[in-house]
């Protein structure tokens, strides 16, 4: 498998959505190609980040934190 071919199936591979034969080929390529290995590690981290639960910050809390910041800046005891 070439790097270009690996990149085409990379995401499906990381999602566990390729057949066994393809998975083996990709794994073999990743073992010997630092560039593709790096790309795959970035995509793994992207997936992990997206898998984290998200909070929608309460506007009141953000407003309070903005005030806190302004007061702190105005306090001048740096």
């Amino acid at each position: 498998m070439s790097c270009a071919q690996v990149m085409v199936v990379m995401q499906a591979y990381l999602d566990g959505e390729v057949d066994e034969r393809t998975a083996k080929k990709v794994a073999k390529h990743l073992d010997s190609c630092a560039d593709c290995q790096y790309e795959s590690s970035v995509y793994v981290d992207i997936k992990k980040s997206l898998a984290q639960p998200k909070i929608d910050p309460d506007p009141d809390v953000l407003a309070a934190l903005s005030d806190f910041t302004r007061n702190l800046a105005a306090s001048g005891n740096s």
Partner: protein, 190 residues
Amino acid sequence: MVLLMDQQTDTETKFEKLVLPELEIMYRTAWLYTRSKSEAEDLVQETLLKAYKALDRFDGRYPRAWLLTIMRNTNINRARKKKPDLLDDPEKTFERSQEFSDTQTPETIVVDPLFSAEVTEAYETLPENFRNVIDLVDLNSFSYKETAAKLGVPVGTVMSRLHRARKQIREVLKEKQVEDTISQGGDHID
């Protein structure tokens, strides 16, 4: 005296300019650390206090990385303070210090918070039909087939939306050179 006042105002403006655009990201990250709204607010405030004290040592580049590094250290200290009983037992103290020698809090944080913050921000800019696919596959661990059924679109559409969405996020990270910043580390701030 006038000069002093001007300097004061400069510092004031500089701090606000640096911090205000990052507050939302800071709060989101603090929530990932603490999983509690009130503790997250506390953690952000404590981080801001430390950042303000360290302001004159900050070179002004990439405030987000600077602030999130301070937050990470602040959180480690908070977690330590929460377990004072362990300090009595040298063996347990050692275990603790091993545990916290890791740069991230176990369990709640799985990726570098800065990286994760940039991913979240890029995700927010994606069109809704891209975000829906990401939510199902990455957040809820749906298969492509299940996602397709749920959204009533062909599997091919799921794949193309999902892959394009993540690729777009990847491009944003590349543009911002997030990985470079992370690998260079910003760990020397207390």
